[in-house]
C-alpha cells in the first residue's frame, strides 16, 4: 500500500498512477465466474461473431473493476471511493492491453468531506478510449 495520501497533496491536472492489464479469455472467464456473467459472447469467439463483433469481447464490468482498482490503489485504505462512472464506447477484444488512467479535474470541501474529482478512462493499446468516465473520492485532510 502506498504512503497515506492527503487531500492537500493532490493537485489539479495531476495524473494518477495507471492500472494496466492485457486481457483475454482467462481474465474474462475468471470474472464471469465471480459475477455469474456467463454470456456466450464473452466466452466464445463464434458467439462473439454471431453478436456482430470481431470475436469474443470482454465484459464492461471487468473494465469497471480495473478502474476501481486504479482509484483504490491511489487513495489507499484511508481514502473512500464515493462515485465511479464510465460509458462503454469501445470494445475490449482478446489480447488488448488496457490502461486505466485518471486526471484530477477538481477539489472541493463539501459537508466536511475533502473531495477530489477525476476524469478517468480505459485506453487500449492503440490509444483508443474505450470507457471514458468520472470519479469522486474523499481523502483524509492534514487539517482534520
Amino acid at each position: 500500500m502506498a504512503a497515506k495520501l492527503y487531500w492537500e497533496d493532490v493537485n489539479i491536472d495531476e495524473e494518477i498512477p495507471p492500472f494496466v492489464r492485457t486481457t483475454g479469455l482467462m481474465e474474462w472467464n475468471r470474472f464471469a465466474a465471480a459475477n455469474e456473467e456467463h454470456i456466450t459472447f464473452h466466452m466464445d469467439h463464434v458467439a462473439g461473431r454471431q453478436a456482430g463483433h470481431p470475436g469474443a469481447i470482454g465484459m464492461g464490468n471487468l473494465r469497471f473493476a480495473y478502474l476501481h482498482n486504479m482509484l483504490l490503489d491511489w487513495i489507499g485504505e484511508e481514502g473512500t471511493l464515493k462515485k465511479v462512472g464510465c460509458q462503454y464506447r469501445g470494445r475490449n477484444l482478446e489480447h488488448d492491453t488496457l490502461t486505466c488512467w485518471g486526471r484530477v479535474i477538481d477539489k472541493e470541501v463539501k459537508d466536511g468531506e475533502y473531495l477530489v474529482v477525476l476524469n478517468i478512462g480505459v485506453k487500449n493499446q492503440d490509444g483508443g478510449e474505450t470507457a471514458p468516465g468520472r470519479a469522486v473520492v474523499a481523502l483524509p485532510s492534514k487539517g482534520s
Binding site: 456466450t40 459472447f41 453478436a51 456482430g52 469497471f64 476501481h68 471511493l81 462512472g85 462503454y88 468516465g133
Partner: protein, 175 residues
Amino acid sequence: MVQQKITEQEEQEFVKNFEAQKARIGEETSRRVSFPVDKSLIRIWAIANRWPEPPDRLYWDEEYAKKTRWGGIIAPPNFNPFAYHIDEDRMAGSSRNMGAVGVGRGNRSMNAGGEAEYFAPIRPGDIITSVSKIVDVYRRDTANLGPTFFMTTETTWTNQKGEVVKIYRGGGIRY
C-alpha cells in the same frame, strides 16, 4: 466494424422493440433480497478483480482487516452479492446462460455503462435488498451498431440495517 445498411423490415422491427421498452419507463423491473454475503465470495470477487496480481488483504485477511479503519473484512466496492442468486427465474429453469440476449434489431444488448455512488460498505453476513426501476429509454443511433436505443435503470441497494449501500444509474444499449 462495417455497418451494413438495414432494410425497412429491420427498421420496423427495431422501432417496435424500442416502443415496447419506452412504454416501460417508471416500471420497477426487479426487487431482490440477497443471501447473506459470504466471505469466500468476497475473496473470489477480489481475486477476479485483480488477477493475476494477488487481491488486497482487506478483502480476505480478517486479522489484517481488523486493524484497518473498517474494523474487519469488507467487500470491494463493486462487489455483486446477487451472483448465483436463487430467484423465480432460476427456479423456472433459467440457466443464466443468456447467450446473445435476444436476436433481431433492437433485441441485441450490450452494457452501456453508468455511475455507481457508494455509501455503507458491504460486510460479510450483510443481506442486501436491491430495487431497480427503468428511468429513461431513448434512441441514439451509433456508427458501429446502426439503429440503437439506450435504457437507463436506477438500482438502489440497502443493507439489513436500512443503510443505503449503493445507487447505480446505468444501463444497456439495444441494437
